[in-house]
Assembly symmetry: C2
Homo-oligomer: 205 residues x 2
């Protein structure tokens, strides 16, 4: 059995201990013959996946009443895995969700690295820089690259730490954000582990 967490840009598979990604644009889910337990935030793939017998949508096995209607299923699965903490899932979007003593308090969405960099470069060619992950967040910047890096990272940082909760980093870019949140726990398998828990609980597969 495979696990699969489908985002806007890629299928993220877990096969035993090994994880691998396939591009949403080019991968054909018919290629997989074995059973796949999946979650997906990608509406475009919904009809195709629903028509495949070996693709089992785990979204149906979760109690969504604790969350809100349009909340991405990946965020819900991440929250299900954390009893007390603030979860930063850094992918094409960065979702930040608060779980306090087992209760979902809400969450917000911030652009991912690529989207935000694009946003600056579209404003002006003079803001077309890569982010500096080593930027000093304790000092106001005095050069353009640091000015956009601080604008992206420090604003997120200031808001996240204001919640005074343990920080859990996950997602494809989770590791990169340890530079910004040095005290965070990184758990790249957070969603897959949550999926395993739901599978066991619901006795699926």
């Amino acid at each position: 059995m495979l696990l699969c967490d489908i985002g806007n840009t890629s299928y993220h598979f877990l096969d035993g201990d090994e994880d691998f990604k396939k591009c949403v644009k080019t991968f054909n889910p018919l290629e997989i013959k074995e059973q796949v337990c999946y979650i997906s935030v990608n509406d475009k793939l919904q009809t195709q996946l629903e028509g495949l017998d070996n693709w089992i949508n785990l979204a149906k096995s979760i109690d969504r009443t604790n969350y809100y209607d349009t909340m991405g299923i990946d965020r819900i699965f991440a929250c299900e895995a954390v009893r007390h903490g603030i979860i930063i899932d850094a992918g094409s979007a960065i979702t930040v969700d608060v779980m306090r003593n087992g209760v979902f308090e809400g969450g917000f969405i911030y652009p991912g690295i690529h989207a935000m960099m694009n946003s600056y470069s579209m404003i002006s060619p003079s803001l077309n820089y890569s982010f500096n992950f080593e930027v000093n967040l304790d000092k106001m910047p005095k050069n353009s690259q640091d000015a956009i890096s601080y604008g992206y990272f420090k604003t997120l940082y200031s808001e996240v730490i204001s919640h005074n909760l343990p920080i859990v980093l996950t997602g494809g870019d989770g590791e990169k954000f340890t530079k910004i949140f040095p005290d965070a726990t990184v758990d790249e398998m957070l969603i897959f582990n949550s999926m395993k828990k739901i599978i066991q609980k619901a006795d699926i597969c």
Copy 2:
């Protein structure tokens, strides 16, 4: 004599007490026959404007040693007008600069409303919302529109208030941000007033 603050998208003129804008893409500076004292962050217009005798670049009348080389001249003029405070200039980009007791401490750049909205909608069609300026910043959101609105506004807010300085709002979207920073002073004429001060000091025009 006219004053003009040129950005990436428009020429912002002040004629006596009246201000008006012209689009960078369509306006021809040759149309103006009288003297114009200007500042510009738009590199593309530099050669043309330098060639016009009646367009006087005020950037040359300022001591830039207090600032940094690639800092936009509009930010420098805004800082010259504030002795002690944090200046939020909300246009196509949002620049945030700290002046403490007359000294420039540095600043950062954050995407403007249009650029940030674009950034969310490019990540996924499911994030294609307008920002809700009425979003409650004291409570974590539980719907998608508020999740992106909070992601944009509250991160900026948390960082800005952490500096514990009087807040000055300016720029084309300055008024809109009073919803987010209700205690801020709005000064839409900040840069023009700063230009007037420099003109007097340098005895130009």
